[in-house]
């Protein structure tokens, strides 16, 4: 695979960077946080992004999308990650729309995807639970079939944008015991359905998340996404793709933190010289550069592989490699960025701390580096 961007892709990246600079500079992120904005982002800005084709970037033109590839998605996500932009790409596009694209019936797609592509419908994937940690197949939420409908009961945690999503994709156990990969079913349900209760959660990063409690929520057979009892595999496929997308966001964040730090090293003076002239800091900065370049390669390779039709096994491998590397690299870059900024880097009023918190949240979401290394080893059979 050729790991270079086309001119069109480069242009898409520049457009994204300009939009972020104009509409979502870091001071906007700070304002959203300090105001404890209940939504956590702007539905207007999201519609604007949708008009640029980002909400429907992976959605076929037949469903109102742009029908582009993962490499295009990567280019946009990198810029959003750079700016720590909280609009719902991850929840609605990478998790929600992905689930519909990979597992939805024709009717389900036609019902939802055009509105998603238009920026009018927000989705969320409610899969994580108190005891699931990184195992997407650990599902304790139950769904029981009785009197012609499914009844869902359980609690999901840290559901990205779950507090505002119009439609939730929920994993529930229809058979088997909590840790089985089999016996899981995905359901589509409206957030305003009776028995659904959402509560905003406040995390360290700028992404909004929510607790979603399901208390005997009733849905019909048509709410099942994919096949009954076969949602485990679908969920894994969705998450591998979302994980790869997340690494593009992480790449943007680590690049921004690194560039901010190199600028500081060039300009901050101590002992009468720029601190970037100290060889120990130089070597550390050079090592960080190497780490970010290797991360960039992994992110590009993973997205490219999806574009080239990677099968599930390949997608899982690429997700593991890219996520492990970006987790370690982003944490390292962010820790070093704060250290090299010195005292000012520890203050809330400096922006570098945002990246440290974003790095941690991204490191842990969808599994940390050790988890993904173990996963790769298992995938390879050792």
């Amino acid at each position: 695979m050729a790991l270079v961007l086309t001119e069109e892709q480069e242009l898409l990246g520049r457009t994204a960077r300009e939009l972020v600079a104009a509409r979502s500079p870091l001071k906007r992120i700070r304002q959203l946080r300090d105001a404890r904005d209940p939504i956590g982002f702007s539905r207007d800005l999201w519609r604007e992004m949708a008009r640029l084709g980002w909400a429907g970037i992976l959605i076929p033109e037949a469903h109102g999308g742009a029908g582009l590839g993962y490499t295009e998605l990567m280019v946009v996500l990198e810029e959003l990650g750079r700016g720590l932009v909280p609009e719902p790409m991850l929840s609605t596009v990478l998790l929600g729309a992905s689930a519909l694209l990979l597992g939805g019936s024709d009717a389900q797609r036609s019902d939802h995807l055009p509105a998603v592509a238009a920026g009018d419908l927000l989705l969320a994937l409610a899969y994580q639970e108190q005891r699931s940690r990184y195992d997407v197949h650990h599902v304790e939420t139950r769904a029981e079939w009785a009197s012609g409908s499914w009844r869902l009961t359980g609690e999901k945690i840290q559901v990205l944008d779950g507090h505002v999503a119009d439609v939730l994709v929920v994993s529930a156990r229809t058979s088997g015991s909590p840790a089985n990969a089999e016996g899981i079913t995905l359901f589509l349900l409206r957030r305003d359905a009776p028995g659904v209760r959402v509560a905003r959660q406040w995390r360290i990063d700028t992404r909004a998340a929510a607790l979603v409690a399901l208390d005997g929520v009733r849905v019909g057979a048509e709410a099942v996404l994919g096949e009954v009892d076969a949602g485990g595999a679908l969920l894994a496929r969705v998450l591998d793709r979302a994980t790869i997308g997340l690494t593009a966001d992480m790449l943007g964040g680590m690049t921004a933190a690194f560039e901010m730090t190199v600028d500081y090293l060039r300009t901050r003076r101590q002992f009468g010289v720029p601190i970037g002239s100290f060889q120990a800091l130089k070597h550390r900065a050079a090592r960080l550069y190497v780490e970010t370049e290797l991360a960039r390669s992994a992110v590009m390779a993973a997205h490219r592989a999806l574009d080239e039709g990677a099968d599930d096994m390949q997608a899982a491998r690429m997700a593991a490699i890219a996520k492990a590397r970006c987790s370690d690299a982003y944490m390292l870059v962010a820790h070093e960025a704060v250290q090299m900024h010195g005292g000012i880097g520890m203050t809330d009023e400096h922006d570098v701390g945002f990246y440290l918190k974003a790095a941690r949240a991204a490191e842990i979401m969808f599994g940390d580096a050790a988890y993904h290394r173990d996963r790769l080893a298992r995938l390879q059979g050792y």
């Binding site: 406040w202 250290q339 880097g345």
Partner: protein, 394 residues
């Protein structure tokens, strides 16, 4: 030895009789030790415990009695510490007065300075803060710009200090000022004591990424400080500052010496990564916990070696940089590991879905990132070791 045994016996009896039961428990979440000072307010038990100990001079056990101390010998002081540890009683008072400016004044203060400043420290009446760092200087401490101009019997001080720990809660500040702007960088600096209630002093807390505000900016505008408040000699403050930095490094190292860290990490691992066989579920995490436990043990033994050398009559030297450097690194590794053990539950800032102790894990990790910056960055410590211990050339 019989005397010492008798002292031990009597000390224990007194502690049992006088320490309130609430002062024999570890700090609960949100509780803090008593830092003293005019601005502080503490629960009745804390105040009672402080008063009882201060009356015996045991807030500063080895200081001379005439300065408010207990007049104990080194050995007696050790016995007191041992008995307090055995009974689990809290120190009645902590702070920079007892650990930094007090010992410094005992070494190099004038008789008048000792009589004036030491008793209020020992009694917990006056709380001190340290005015070293400045906005433009950072690791280059000696690059400080705060100026002090002599005007008769006073110095008129103008400038800005930053990273002043708890300046908003302190009554007095010891600080470095530039008294000779034409002298070479290290030669024109003077060490001053300044009343924070003086006209012209204002303080603004700095909010950290962890959400807490343990540090302040201190703005000093035409503040008049009597000449008698110079410690040592005018323009010779740099040597005193360096002496104090070594006290500080030792103190920071002590702060990072927590005996039950491995146990706490282990408890976390058992909570978030349970395994059927009773071991820690993730071998990689288990290995990291063990590594931390081992490194902590080696660090503690290294501190013990240094103490033994000091006791044998050698003053603490540049090797104290090891403690600052490695102690903070250990603490950072520990906080980082704790967050990775808690996993998704460590992503909370506040509110629903996250327990208080989970939020604390995360904020402790964020706060720990400052450890390798404050009190002399890790880079500065490594420079000191390379130059002063290894003799590597500039």
């Amino acid at each position: 030895m019989d005397d010492l045994d008798a002292f031990r016996e009597e000390t224990r009896r007194w502690l049992v009789a006088n320490a309130p039961p609430s002062m024999r428990k570890p700090l609960a979440a949100g509780e803090d030790y008593c830092w003293g000072g005019r601005k502080g307010r503490w629960p009745a038990d804390v105040a009672r415990w402080l008063a009882a100990m201060a009356e015996r001079g045991w807030t500063a056990p080895t200081w001379p009695r005439e300065y408010g101390g207990g007049g104990l010998s080194e050995e007696e002081g050790k016995v007191l510490a041992q008995e307090m540890a055995k009974l689990g009683v809290r120190p009645p008072l902590v702070g920079f007065g007892l650990t930094m400016i007090g010992p410094l004044l005992l070494h190099v203060g004038s008789e008048q300075q000792k009589r004036r400043h030491l008793p209020p420290i020992a009694h917990g009446e006056i709380r001190w803060c340290q005015g070293y760092s400045e906005p433009g200087a950072g690791s280059d401490l000696a690059g400080l710009q705060t100026r002090a101009v002599r005007d008769g019997d006073v110095f008129v001080v103008t400038g800005q200090k930053v990273w002043t720990s708890f300046a908003d809660k302190a009554d007095w500040m010891f600080l470095l000022v530039r008294t000779d702007p034409d002298a070479p960088k290290h030669a024109g600096i003077t060490f001053l004591l300044m009343d924070m209630a003086s006209p012209g002093v204002t303080v603004r807390p700095i909010k950290l990424i962890s959400g807490a505000s343990p540090f302040c900016e201190t703005f000093i505008t035409d503040v008049r400080v009597p000449v008698e408040n110079v410690v040592g000699h005018v323009n010779e403050g740099w040597g005193i500052a360096k002496m104090l930095l070594r006290f500080e490094r030792n103190m920071i190292a002590d702060a990072f010496k927590e005996r039950d860290d491995a146990a706490r990490l282990l408890a976390l691992a058992r909570r978030y990564l349970p395994a059927d066989d009773g071991r820690v579920g993730q071998p990689i995490v288990r290995d990291q916990i063990t590594q931390l436990e081992m490194d902590q043990a080696c660090f503690d033994w290294t501190l013990a070696r240094s103490r033994a050398r000091v006791k044998a009559g050698h003053p603490p030297g540049p090797e104290t940089s090891i403690f600052k450097y490695y102690g903070t690194e250990l603490n950072q590794r520990r906080r980082d590991l704790a967050v990775r053990i808690a996993g998704p539950q460590a992503l909370g800032w506040e509110g629903e879905g996250f327990a208080d102790d989970e939020v604390k894990l995360t904020r402790d990790w964020l706060r720990s990132r400052g450890n390798s910056i404050e009190g002399g960055t890790s880079e500065v410590q490594l420079n000191i070791i390379a130059k002063r211990v290894l003799g590597l050339p500039d």
